[in-house]
Amino acid sequence: MRPLLESAREKLRRRKVVAVMSGKGGVGKSVVAALAALAKPGSALVDLDLEGASAPRLFGLSGRLHEISKEGIEPLEVGGVKVFSLGGIVGDRYVVLPGYGQAGAVEALLAFAKLGDSDPVVVDMPPGMGEELLALSRITDFLPVLVTTPSKASYGVVKHLAEYLAEIGKKPAAVVLNMAYVDCGGSRIYPFGRGEDARRLAESFGAPLYELPIDPSLEDYVGRIHEYRGPIAYVVRQMVEGL
């Protein structure tokens, strides 16, 4: 018996768990997850990108360590969000993790996280469809939010993820089409294509689609994402309210 798996399960049983995922990397999962948690007071954000933790960097917490108390891992609180990340366990250094240890790390992080009465719990997933996704599925019945860019390269991977989810009886709660365009003096540039495929994907699953522009000012908020008030935050808030 794995007591940490069991208590991670128990801990999440009565909460809404929103898992921001894609299969593909670099599509904006972490940005969307952070803004989704920020949009709803009382949220927790659990960063399960074990080897590429982004939450500490987005919130300006790099190098800061979680305090560990009798009750487990104390959150780092920013902008009303309780943030939990492996980055808060190891600090600002690399994590290299063989496949056999990934599930244990996911279970421990969730079992020890002092979630308090946080609800929803937003989970920032790593790219890939490997151990972390399987581990999360063992623990909880999450609501998947799929993030893609317009590119065929990204869409193809996200489609595979959606098909896998359908196979296990899960439907995307929302599809986010990120980096849809960038403003160029009033007209639009489409650096990664027009996104028709993604729109059709959302439709075919009956999931609402939310479109996010590229906002070059976002980069200035990496480190203080909780202060960002631009268009991406606005649309992500609508998405969260629709869940």
Binding site: P3, S7, I68, E71, I89, V96, P98, G101, G104, L109
Partner: protein, 136 residues
Amino acid sequence: MHEWSLALSLVQTLDRWALENGVQIKRVVLSVPSPAQLDVSILTEAFDTLKRESRLEQAKLEVRVRSPRYRCRACGYEFGQEEVDQQIRQLMGQYGEEYPLHLIPELLPTFVKCPRCGSHDIEAELSIKVDEVETI
């Protein structure tokens, strides 16, 4: 410190299990890998406090501290805890008591290198698990 949290996991998990199976629990063997450096006396104290008014009320916790056998998957070298101890001590010096492997022993390959070839590609049984449960 988080030993309390681990003990709570254990008590809650087993209490639920005991209820489902209509039993009381007499003895629990928890197996923990030595690099986690869990404090057995805190764990036991926490367990004995938290078990009250549960189906573990009369349960005795035994903590089995395992010294893993390590194998480097890069060069094949097999080694024991003694060849890792110094790296662990150094890590504790750096992070303090609540150091990463204390919470998540599975992180060992992130921090520990093969004493022969320097690779981080180390295999070991590092999970925390219940080995035995005796019921009445």
